[in-house]
């Protein structure tokens, strides 16, 4: 079972697809949650996800925008997609009938 932050990273990386790398994932998470995402949390979680086989990472090419430094590129593996999908289904299933889910539908 994934952790909340792991799910956020997988979702952000999946959405960014070929443009998924450290800073971009961090930006996506901050936009979605409205909270600061620390580099320490991001990089240690990326390592953990890679160890679990849910993502692959590699060093990309350097860009001038980053002062000539390379990006740590991220790609969600098929196992990662399956894990994120399972997590999403569990969250939806467990949220059925709870007040905030009902309110959300009512607001919509």
């Amino acid at each position: 079972m994934l952790g909340e932050f792991e799910y956020l990273i997988l979702s952000a990386a999946a959405r960014l697809h070929d443009d998924a790398y450290g800073a971009a994932i961090r930006h996506e998470i901050e936009e979605a949650t409205g909270r600061h995402c620390s580099i320490g949390a991001l990089y240690t979680t990326l390592d953990r996800l890679e160890t679990k086989g849910l993502i692959r990472t590699w060093m990309g090419d350097p860009t001038p925008q980053r002062g000539g430094r390379p990006k740590r590129m991220v790609r969600v593996t098929a196992t990662g997609i399956r894990a994120a999908s399972d997590f999403y289904l569990v969250v939806r299933r467990v949220s059925r009938g709870v007040s905030w889910e009902a309110n959300r539908i009512a607001v919509r």
């Binding site: 620390s38 860009t63 002062g67 390379p70 790609r75 593996t77 196992t79």
Partner: protein, 240 residues
């Protein structure tokens, strides 16, 4: 990189300099990626420093979750460090006695050995200590990984000071009117031939170990090299 207007340019420069120095404790690839991310995101120097410190702390905690640094601490620092400290202490005393006798009276300090044999004994002891310290440093570097700064400091203090502490506690050495600062300096930077031996062998073994580890890591960690990501992705797709 981003600036921090509230703290002024001097603080900003100091913070960025600290980010630069601290990030050197990270792996080369990770350092580049992190500093690139900081440059791109335009975070303030204070935020960048906090982020880098957070990452370093998490990496250090991660290291201590493994058994190797603990084995280094127990096996090398405690089990090897304490006896080495006694031998080093004896070596220091013997050498000092000989030196003082020669300097003050121009004679050989009276032991049961002849001057030539005494010199040969001290030379052999110095070589044996050098080899032992080198081996300990190498094993320490191999087991500790990035916790080497801590385990090596602990080994340094154990080897150079544990004999003194034991003698002081048993009452064989009386520290009369010794100031706290003087004691601290004497404990951390004792100026004697043993310290020189220790530093020489320690730095040599750790740098040897670092270059060997880097070569092994390059061979064992293809994930951090430049390779085609689609290869691994396709492999996973086939597994579905």
């Amino acid at each position: 990189m981003g600036g921090e207007p509230n703290r002024g340019p001097i603080m900003t420069r100091i913070f960025w300099r600290l980010v630069d120095i601290l990030s050197r404790t990270l792996d080369a690839d990770e350092r580049q990626a992190v500093r690139g991310d900081l440059a791109e995101s335009g975070d303030s120097a204070g935020m960048a420093l906090r982020d880098v410190l957070g990452l370093i702390a998490r990496r250090q905690i991660g290291i201590w979750k493994q058994w190797q640094p603990w084995l280094a601490l127990l096996g090398v620092v405690c089990l090897a460090g304490v006896p080495l400290s006694r031998i080093l202490f004896r070596f220091n005393v013997d050498l000092s006695q000989q030196w003082m006798a020669y300097q003050q009276y121009g004679v050989h300090f009276g032991t049961l050995l002849t001057p030539q044999r005494d010199m040969a004994f001290l030379l052999c002891l110095a070589v044996a200590l050098l080899v032992w310290l080198w081996t300990c440093g190498f094993v320490l570097g191999s087991l500790s990984g990035r916790a080497i700064w801590f385990t090596w400091s602990a080994f340094y203090l154990t080897v150079l000071d544990s004999a003194w502490v034991r003698f002081a506690l048993s009452g064989n050495i009386i520290l009369c009117n010794a100031g706290l600062i003087r004691l601290f300096v004497a404990a951390t930077v004792p100026l004697n031939i043993a310290t020189l031996l220790f530093l020489l062998s320690g730095v040599w073994s750790i740098t040897r170990n670092a270059s060997a580890s880097a070569t092994v890591a390059r061979c064992l960690r293809p994930g951090l090299g430049h390779h085609n990501p689609h290869d691994t992705y396709n492999l996973d797709e086939r597994l579905v």
